[in-house]
């Protein structure tokens, strides 16, 4: 993780929203590139994008402190990863199958992470990161290092139906851990609409049942995301226990790039939540005079250059060699004589 933050404090105000927006732009440019590479057949495996969820994800990532906090991103959190400080090359390497980088071809795409630096490497089983982040926070408490730290993870509306989500959030509540869980209620879990996913009026109502703070936010509203999510992270940091945030929005892509999302009705796409949070962000930043058109244009150029450089580098790197691979899953080397 980059040391560029240089601060032990959560960003606030204009610095915070600028960091959010920079990460959102970079994520969108990167994801458009990934989509093109996928369609050109350059990517082995799936491509999962966070289009439409950048404001929510970046609001979380930019509120976290790298090197101090724990972050377990899910599949639509490129913006949050970038805001948290994940180098672009990690993403390019994972998608393009480089032998270098943290995953070395052993796992791909959105399953990458830097656990040693507090960014966990997700598994595909939804909801399972909630208890893991809680455990990392619990360990910090045992070590006497919890003060001022938080942990965060993101799920979709679909993951709220899992036992793992329930068990993890309940555990965090019982232990009063500074855990932030964001539910991106993006209206579809793959193709399943929320009407088949949950029967409560609003998922935020569940916060009361868990005994945790609940927050609702319009996930397409950039400044609202900054205010609500930034505040929830601060509350957790200040000792207010777990924070459950439900962000209403719409996934602006298929589940993955293999999926055209044709099951999403046109009226939903044209509804309020069908708007693009990046457009909203730009409008709001200009309106409040936080950024100028020129600065935004230059941010886009920088993002394009950075993304191009990362992809070009990963494409030139060696791919994994099955003859050189250490075919052992244990870290204990004396077990390697076992010829299983």
């Amino acid at each position: 993780m980059t040391e560029n933050e240089g601060s032990n404090n959560q960003k606030s105000g204009a610095d915070y929203v600028r960091a959010m927006f920079a990460a959102m732009i970079t994520a969108r440019v990167l994801e458009n590139k990934l989509s093109s590479l996928y369609k050109a057949g350059k990517i082995v495996g799936g491509v999962y994008l966070g289009k439409g969820q950048e404001a929510v994800s970046a609001a979380l990532g930019a509120a976290l402190i790298p090197g101090k906090d724990i972050f377990a991103p899910l599949i639509r959190d490129q913006a949050g990863r970038t805001a948290f400080g994940e180098p672009l090359i990690d993403c390019a390497r994972a998608y393009l199958g480089s032998a270098l980088g943290p995953m070395r071809g052993r796992d791909g795409n959105i399953h990458r992470g830097r656990p040693l630096e507090g960014m966990l490497a997700m598994i595909s089983h939804l909801g399972s990161a909630v208890s893991v982040v809680a455990g990392a926070l619990f360990a910090k408490r045992l070590k006497g290092e919890l003060l001022g730290c938080v942990g965060a993870t993101c799920v979709g509306d679909g993951a709220t139906s899992t036992g793992a989500f329930h068990e993890g959030l309940n555990l965090a509540a019982v232990e009063k851990l500074p855990l932030i869980v964001i539910i991106a209620d993006n209206q579809f879990a793959y193709s399943t609409p929320t009407s088949s996913q949950y029967a409560c009026h609003d998922l935020v109502d569940r916060a009361k049942g868990y005994g945790v703070a609940g927050h609702s936010v319009d996930g397409t509203d950039f400044l609202a995301c900054a205010a609500v999510i930034g505040d929830a992270v601060k509350r957790a940091r200040d000792g207010d226990g777990p924070q459950l945030i439900v962000a209403k929005l719409l996934r602006l892509s298929g589940h993955g790039e293999h999926d055209d999302g044709s099951y999403v009705p046109a009226e939903i796409k044209q509804s309020h939540y069908g708007r693009d949070c990046l457009d909203v962000a730009e409008m709001q930043l200009l309106e409040y005079g936080i950024l100028t058109k020129e600065v935004i244009a230059s941010m886009r150029e920088i993002a394009a250059t950075d993304v191009q450089a990362a992809v070009a580098q990963a494409q030139q790197e060696p791919t994994p060699d099955p003859y050189q691979e250490v075919w052992h899953a244990w870290s204990t080397e004396r077990f390697y004589s076992e010829n299983s």
Binding site: A134, G135, A136, K143, A164, L171, S340
Partner: protein, 322 residues
């Protein structure tokens, strides 16, 4: 003054808590109550804040341990019964077990699984889960059969950087006694010849080691057969070298286990011996396991469900008469 198998588990945890500030215990009813089997009795008073009651959430208990391990701790999780670890299965085999291979960062968690049958416990408090976990790459699965192994292997499990499934047999808890916790210092990954013999080899682990020794003694008295008993100690890694060396001496193999018969540790042992030591065999290798039904409740049915000294003797007589 003698000590029991459960004493060994409790003492090992006390030792670990005293010696290593990274160690903590997490499980249901393990703090003030001391655990369903009293394996943590008194420890929460001795080590305040480090022996913690968990909600009835096996998935989250395992996930919590994984997160804590990634933060540098050495959690020991007590599953109240091995059977309930099925709820934690995903976290163990998908999260903990894959982590080192995927990221290069190991997940040193120890999952204590009170395993195996006792009379009257029924289908959901009697299971032997070692096969299920051993199937997955990245997991270490240990199955101590002696008081000294229960002690030393728990300490070693916590010191290992890999996730360990520590299968402690409930039948041995209070029945198995020794003069002390001191053993022969064998590391995890090495089997032990528990009883020397030259006519047939029984390869087994956990509580079945004792049933095998009883059967061997009976056959020796009855007809002078000398049966060798190999205690695998850990089913993964599996010390096939010790097994093959024994089969080379005896020419006959019975693989014995308390788990269900389909696949499993005994099938693995037979497959490896046949593949690597076919020329050593003087008779077709045999397997003896529990029956292919859920573990029954009634003591009469339970006793006939798992291998007994009688059924082991029957198998050995067949093996020896081939």
């Amino acid at each position: 003054m003698s000590v029991t198998y459960i004493d060994a588990i409790r003492e090992a945890q006390e030792h670990l808590l005293r010696d290593d500030p990274r160690v903590f215990l997490y499980g249901q009813d393990i703090a003030a109550f001391g655990g369903a089997f009293k394996a943590t009795k008194g420890l929460s008073e001795m080590f305040p804040g480090r022996v913690i009651d968990a909600p009835i959430s096996e998935d989250a208990m395992a996930g919590m341990a994984i997160g804590a391990a990634l933060e540098g701790m050495r959690p020991i999780v007590e599953m109240q019964f091995a059977d309930f670890s099925s709820i934690a299965f995903n976290q163990i085999v998908n999260h903990a077990a894959t982590h080192f291979y995927r990221t290069g960062m190991p997940v040193p968690i120890t999952m204590r699984l009170p395993s195996g049958g006792t009379a009257g416990s029924g289908p959901f408090h009697s299971q032997s889960m070692e096969t299920i976990y051993a199937h997955y790459p990245g997991v270490v699965v240990v199955t101590p059969a002696t008081v000294a192994d229960a002690y030393s292997m728990l300490i070693e499990s916590v010191k290992l950087d890999d996730p360990v499934i520590y299968c402690e047999h409930k039948f041995l808890y209070r029945w198995l006694k020794a003069q002390s916790f001191k053993g022969d210092g064998l590391p995890i990954g090495q089997a032990r010849i528990t009883r020397m013999g030259r006519h047939a080899t029984v390869v087994t682990y956990s509580a079945m080691v004792h049933e095998a020794v009883r059967a061997a003694e009976r056959l020796q008295q009855e007809s002078g057969w000398e049966i060798e008993v190999v205690d695998l100690r850990s089913v993964k890694p599996l010390d096939i070298d010790t097994v093959l060396a024994s089969v080379a001496r005896t020419g006959r193999l019975l693989a014995l286990g308390e788990a269900f018969p389909w696949g499993g540790v005994t099938a693995e042992v037979v497959a490896r011996v046949v593949a690597d030591g076919f020329h050593l065999l003087e008779a077709p290798p045999m397997r003896l396991n529990a029956r292919d039904t859920p573990v029954p409740y009634h003591p009469k049915l339970w006793a006939a469900h798992r291998p007994t000294p009688e059924s082991i003797c029957d198998s050995l007589r067949k093996l020896l008469s081939y």
